[in-house]
């Protein structure tokens, strides 16, 4: 007898529907799984048999064939255990075929018949949203992130069978708010004393989605500043929230801390491998840190210490907002729309304040900065110096502006960008800049002078213009852009090349 059970598997960060077909017929007792299962999927045979037997069901001593359709999509993970078990029960007539109507199943089985959570619950439930989805009880909070879905959380195979047969009601897990994940208080900008340039740069970065590079000695507060950036970004909308939840769920990390509506913040260490940063892996292609920071902030501390190869791999995702990871068996695309924040020391000793306090040789210094230079550096519209704040400003009495009031200006600036048809000013192309960011005479002269001095490249001039437009948006100025806007935009773009030359 044949049974077909709807389920799904994760490819990259997206769910793909899988029809689990179970055929039970006479013949020598045998249990085979076909249809591109991976190792953990093939192991399902042993788990399913043990789980059925320990839950008091009968194992059919017949020929059992399981086909995972469509045959072309590689199936990964143990989430297909439950649909296979349900399929065997229906095909061996221990459950009625009606129980499969409009119902999909996702879950891993324990040998004792318990149903365990699997990674990727959010994308799995998302793709099955037209059905009532039976999910592991322990994954019910994660599954709820998929939005409006009919969920049937269940903890064990025997209670599932009881509910399906109508012997008892579906177990209720109430509407408890989930494991009381302590929502960390996001760090507030009001805690930052002094550092007016860095504050302005954060505000501009948040408003225009401009990538930011901070250059400064250890202890200047670069990490502290970067952590305050997610709080300035507009909160995630429902669509974005689902995207973020899918990536985190597919990576097996559950739901990002902070309740999921605040933009994620990821700060991988510079020892991170290429695969952990951009995603990949041979058996199960997992999203990397860049994708985990999707719709949020990717912070690379000590950027000069990252291997050049790893930094180079970031260029494509920064340009396209997505990463395509190709492996022999599959090619998947991960989302990667990040706001990149880099931090670096000015030189190996970190002591270069001005051009005098550094103990490094010229050669060491230029080599250090050269590691950052090139195409990746080009992506940073904002490059600022962050120095240790002077003592008087650290102890200064007046409270600084809070995250809340800065975020309000950022939101207003984003609205103006939306009127131009882009999410943020970073996305404005040449044509958009010409249309929305005209320069007045004085501003034009400043740019022309900087171009003539060689302080700006042609590309740099365009980026400065985009930043100047964001600066204007933040204070509500209408175009044309004036000298003030351009002067600030230039001041927020320190030329690293001249830091090398400074010692030549």
């Amino acid at each position: 007898m044949l049974a077909e059970v709807p389920s799904a598997t994760v490819v990259g960060v997206d769910g793909h529907r899988v029809a689990v077909e179970v055929h039970v017929t006479r013949g020598l007792p045998c249990f085979s799984v076909v249809g591109l299962p991976d190792v953990s999927c093939r192991e399902a045979r042993d788990r399913v048999r043990a789980a059925l037997v320990s839950s008091g069901f009968e194992w059919p001593m017949q020929r059992i064939t399981v086909n995972l359709a469509p045959g072309g999509v590689p199936k990964t993970g143990s989430g297909l255990d439950l649909p296979i078990a349900v399929g065997v029960l229906v095909a061996s007539e221990q459950l009625k075929p009606e129980v499969l109507a409009d119902r999909a199943f996702v879950g891993e089985l324990g040998l004792d018949g318990s149903i365990r959570p699997v990674s990727g619950t959010v994308p799995l439930v998302d793709v099955l949203r037209s059905h009532e989805v039976v999910v592991p009880a322990a994954a019910r909070h994660e599954a709820a992130w998929a939005g409006e879905c009919r969920l049937r959380p269940i903890a064990s195979l025997s209670s599932l069978a009881g509910a399906l047969r109508g012997e008892h009601d579906w177990p209720s897990f109430g509407s408890d708010p989930g494991p009381a994940a302590p929502i960390p208080t996001p760090p507030d900008l009001a805690d930052v004393r002094g550092q007016p340039t860095a504050r302005l740069a954060l505000e501009v970065a948040a408003a225009g989605a401009h990538h930011l590079l901070m250059i400064g000695p250890p202890g200047a507060g670069k990490t502290m500043l970067a952590r305050r950036l997610p709080g300035l970004l507009p909160p995630l909308g429902p669509v974005e929230r689902l995207e973020v939840a899918k990536v985190h769920s597919a990576a097996g990390l559950g739901i990002p801390a902070g309740g999921g509506s605040s933009p994620p913040f990821r700060a991988p260490h510079h020892g991170a491998s290429m695969v952990s940063l951009v995603g990949g892996g041979s058996a199960h292609v997992r999203p990397g840190e860049v994708s985990l920071a999707h719709r949020g902030v990717l912070f690379l501390d000590e950027m000069g210490e990252f291997p050049a190869r790893v930094l180079d791999a970031l260029r494509q995702p920064l340009e396209e907002g997505a990463i395509r990871v190709s492996r022999a068996r599959a090619s998947v695309e991960f989302p990667a729309q990040v706001l990149l924040v880099g931090a670096t020391n000015p030189c190996p000793c970190g002591g270069a304040t001005g051009s005098s306090g550094c103990r490094c040789s010229t050669h060491a210094r230029s080599r250090y900065l050269r590691r950052l230079s090139g195409p990746l550096l080009d992506r940073f519209d904002l490059r600022i110096l962050v120095d240790r704040p002077p003592a008087e400003s650290v102890l200064g009495g007046e409270a600084e502006e809070s995250t809340e009031s800065v975020a309000a200006r950022v939101a207003a600036a984003r609205r103006r960008a939306a009127e131009r048809g882009v999410v943020a000013n970073r996305d404005l192309g040449d044509k958009g800049l010409d249309e929305h960011a005209p320069l007045d005479a004085a501003a034009r002269r400043l740019v022309v002078d900087a171009l003539a001095d060689g302080r700006l490249s042609a590309r740099g001039a365009r980026r400065v213009r985009a930043v100047a437009l964001t600066l204007a948006d933040l204070v509500g100025d209408e175009p044309p852009l004036t000298l003030d806007h351009l002067a600030s935009a230039l001041a927020l773009r320190v030329e690293l090349a001249s830091m090398v030359e400074a010692s030549a």
Partner: protein
Amino acid sequence: MSADGRCGVDDPPEVAWLLCLASLPRMGPRRLDGLVAGRDPASVWSDIVAGARRVDAEVIRRCGAEWTAVRTGWVTAAQGVDPASVWEAHRGRAVLDRTGAGFPARLVDDPEPPAFLVVEGTLPEHEPVVSIVGTRRCTGYGRDVARSLGRDLAEAGVVVASGLALGIDAAAHTGALEVDGAPPLGVVATGLDLVYPARNRHLWEQVAARGALMSEHPLGTAPTRWRFPARNRILAGMADAVVVVESHAGGGSMHTVASALDRDVPVLTIPGPVTSPASAGTNRLLVDGAVPVRDIDDVLTVLGLSGRRRSASMAADPARVEVPEAGLVVLGALDATPTTVDTVALRTGRPLRALHAELVELERRGLAAQEAGWWRVSPLGQLAAAVESPS
């Protein structure tokens, strides 16, 4: 060899053997001098090829425990050298023998003269020479000063000599090349065919084209640590005065200073901020009695040339400078040592975005200078601030 010292087609002259000897490993000017003292370089060379058995006892004594290793190195290297091809490689370059024509008169009487010089370009003969030396890790202030000093001295007909290193050396020659004045002189510590540091190639070529380059090493000599202090003695020996622009305490410029003092060459220095490590060495020299330099006139006075030129000082005429009203406060908050915009904002209390525009305006008028986000007042700005200040 012809009278002008240029290599000819005839048999290798005496200086060719010196070139061969100097190309041996661990051969410094002092050892070379000891080897050929009172002897014919050709016979010294054939002795070394044969196993270095008749080497001057004084040389062996000074080598001490190293002698065995030094000798083995010499003999092995010498056996692989073909003197004719060494000579051939120098064809077309001026190789000046200490006893021959064209050798700089100032170095003939030097306590440690080079045995020979390889020269490109034309050496200065009668012009006064000032060596400008200083740290490679200089500040913007040091670079500005070295550059204007180099420019003004060249304009006043004084040959600017330097080592073509990064930092102060490069700045001094850059300045000297900006005007159509006295030809620059570069004294380098490698063979003339090896540009070191490579980043200064353009400057190196400019100096060779408009003035002269000299080296006491045969072509092909790579940069080695000890050659730089040794080179500095030639910089001191060639000079009528040595100006140290910026030097860290114990920096390499102190070798030049010591050599200058040995040769009774006056040492002048540029005073720097007491807080700047790059000026620690020069300020120390001031305490020890070096002559402070405020502008080129101080240098010309030491050279006995004070009448030659009334300089307009290192800055321009303050009377011509206009400071915008709003910029005056900002100008007052800038130092000669670079500061960040944040510090300026704190000092002036001005909002950051207004400050950006004011700084740009000051920079445009040449009153302030910016380098990689670090702002400082320019020499012109300092004058302007002094003139405009209400006190």
